[in-house]
């Protein structure tokens, strides 16, 4: 078979698709499912702009074949806000000017959410190393790190998220 029929879960919804064997999960998300939140910055796993979560671990969707997603559970940027309500990370990125052009932002948000779900109180160093695979060329990372710290503080229930 050169085409695979895949049934997977994306942001909680069951999704079926056909894909060519060499298509990546990123190709499938963008070109077949119209989910363009994940971006292709390099296609080689070096930039992190295509980051999604698969079965609880973040991955570069450019380094996953579409066919591999069968039976998995995928979370993407499109599922991060609950309707109109932004995730605290999204809100702190906005308020803290943690994005400029915004191309790396979806990947960084997905990666940062996975970090905070695993470690609600990461140190600056832990955040920096966790996000080392998410390149940002605009910000110099400063405001990104601060936004993650502030979102983490808010999610821990600490009132002073400054």
């Amino acid at each position: 078979m050169t085409h695979s029929h895949v049934t997977t879960t994306i942001n909680g919804d069951t999704v079926d698709y056909l894909c060519d064997a060499e298509e990546t999960l990123l190709d499938v998300l963008r070109d077949r499912l119209g989910m363009t939140g994940a971006k292709e910055g390099c296609g080689t796993g070096d930039c992190g702009a295509c980051t999604v979560e698969m079965d609880g671990r973040i991955v570069c969707s450019c380094l996953v074949l579409g066919a591999e997603a069968d039976g998995r559970s995928i979370r993407t940027i499109e599922g991060m806000a609950k309707g109109e309500e932004l995730h605290p990370l999204q809100r702190h990125f906005l308020e803290g000017a943690a994005l400029q052009c915004g191309i790396c932002t979806p990947g960084i948000l997905v990666a940062a959410r996975a970090l905070l779900e695993k470690n609600p109180n990461p140190s600056e160093t832990e955040i920096r190393y966790w996000l080392a695979g998410n390149l940002c060329r605009c910000t110099g990372y400063d405001k990104i790190i601060r936004a993650v710290q502030n979102a983490a503080a808010e999610m821990r229930g600490e009132s002073n998220a400054a």
Partner: protein, 755 residues
Amino acid sequence: MPLDHNPDKKDFKVVGHVKTRPDGVDKVTGRAKFGADMFAPGMLHAKILRSPHAHARIKSIDTSKAEALPGVKAVVTAADFPDNPDLLANEELVNIRYNVMARGKVLYDGHAVAAVAAVNPRVARQALKLIEVDYEVLPHVVDVELAMAPGAPILHEDLRTNGEGDEPTNVARTIEIGHGDIDAGFKEADFIVERTFTAGAAHQGYIEPHACLANVSGDGSGEIWCCTQGHFMVRDFCAQICGMEVSKLRVTASEIGGGFGGKTTIFIEPVALALSRKTGRPVKLVMTRDEVFRATGPTASSSTHIKMGCTKDGVITAAYAELHYQGGAFPGAPSDMGAMTAFACYQPKAVKALGWDVVTNRPKQAAYRAPGAPMAAFAVESVVSELAAKIGMDPIDFRLKNAATSGSRSSYGPTYSDIGLVETLEAAKAHPNYSIPLGPNQGRGVASGFWFNFGGQTAVSLNVNIDGSVALSVGTPDIGGSRASMCAMAAEELGIPYENVQTIIADTGSLGYNDVTDGSRVTFASGLATIEAARNAKKVLCARAAKIWGIPEDAVKWEDGCAIPAGPNAGEFPPLSIKELAAQAGETGGPIAGHYEISADGAGPSFATHIVDAEVDRETGRITILRYLIVQDAGKAVSPTYVEGQMQGGAVQGIGWALNEEYIYNDKGLLENPGFLDYRIPVASDLPMIDTQIVEVPNPGHPYGVRGVGETSIVPPLGAVANAVAAATGTRPQELPVSPPRLLKLMKDQPLAAE
């Protein structure tokens, strides 16, 4: 009409307090549409075949096998971009066409040779392998000094230096700037430092590869959707290269995933257009990362010779520079900018700077944040710090003693208006970072930087909606949050809340011509035009109120979002809000709008001073940035957090250039590192927090005192890092990036040289 400049305006209600940007929610939820995010029914996918050689004659191209592959709809080569009179009259455009698709010879590894449109990317990729190109490989040159040497391989047989002479050459242009008696200046000097510095070619490294979607209709009209810093530029260049009337092409700028100057020209757009015209279907073309590195526009690489002298009291008496810049396969290396900016921070009595613009077998350089300036500043700031050390003066004091000031003559000619270099130096000196004690193998580096900032052609249109909200159309793509600043300036001027203004980047069919987003010009020029457009709208609003009240137009003034009688003689009328006036627009004369067109002048230069602390691992040559401070003059910071972001981003790009980023070529002239794996831009774990301090010396050329802030911040870091390394190791890096192998070798060759 003279502009009502009021740079001393202080009572800002919106400007300076911007919180969230209009495009923000879409960008944190994944909804924002970037270049590659657009799809069209029946769309084809295109791929480009690129040269595997640095320099070769194309003897033949056979596309027949590719065309026969099922799913392939069209193949184009240079033959599909024929001559036309408008094109041939414009040498720059002829070169752009050659860069877009090689004709006769390929000039660099990655030069486009042919392109395919097919039903999906996989078929298109397969088809590329079926195109047969017969090359005659020619000798190549990628190094600037080798390209200038006698007997160097020649890229363009018809190129002459400054258009003069008989012999073919790779030196496209030379430039000389300066004033004063340079020899006398050096005679006056007690100390002279003379050194040669080199800097590698860096790439802008935007995370979004170039992408476009072209759609040509059967009637010959077309549309392009693309990520660009200037969609009017894309329209004009593409129309002329493809032989279309400009009015028949409409270009829409997508959200742009970084540009930094690299998206101020075209690469793939005419190719997609030609393929769409040939197939009658929409064609999408997205570069791979490999293509971005091999075939877009990195910076020039440079070799810079500096000689500076000062008295024992610390007065710079003479400053001399020779700047050799290679800018890839076509003329345009910004050695002129390098020459003009090199000494712009100082007031040497005598100054002379010579620039060479050299072509080599590399991709044609494109603008990168303050193009030409960082590598010149690296050399000059290194020598300035060395001079300060020689006379035992604090490096900031030395800079203060020689700093360009308001009203002083710039090293490149004009007299400065109000500028803020001294303020940045004083703030840097007073900052706590400057007095933190350093440990072993740690060093502190200081450097200042300058950028002109540009104005340029700008058109803005502002429409008052039926509910009193405002729709603002600008024509300069938003590469760093400028829509927020436009909203703020329109709201400030109209006296309405920030949230009541929506700014869009209008397509080329909806607005007058706008220059590309470059030269840190948008917040200045589009901002200026926005303010003036709002003022024009206010005049209309006041006229409508006058009509309603039955009083003369000059008896009405605008205050806090309302028309009110201008004085007691005008009569007693309750204020008419923008909302009330908008609701009645149909009865009072029709839609209410303001627009403004200008070729903006008076951008006002921006200066910055950076302080960096670095630690060197003496056993490996690895450099760690411990802390970093940026002090920069923003004139007036419309959106302070975004200004900080510009400062931080630029500085980190400079840090990358200083430490690890460079184009690496092998002996065949092929690029060895066309990917983010080995073209090493800084990652989050490489850096500390980047401290910032905004200084505000209002720009007299802008109604609110605004200066561009986007570019200056990449100018000082190269020199600042080099100075920190020199302080930490006692050896001075003269070759950037100062990668670990280079620094380790340097420390061995010159162990603890005195400085």
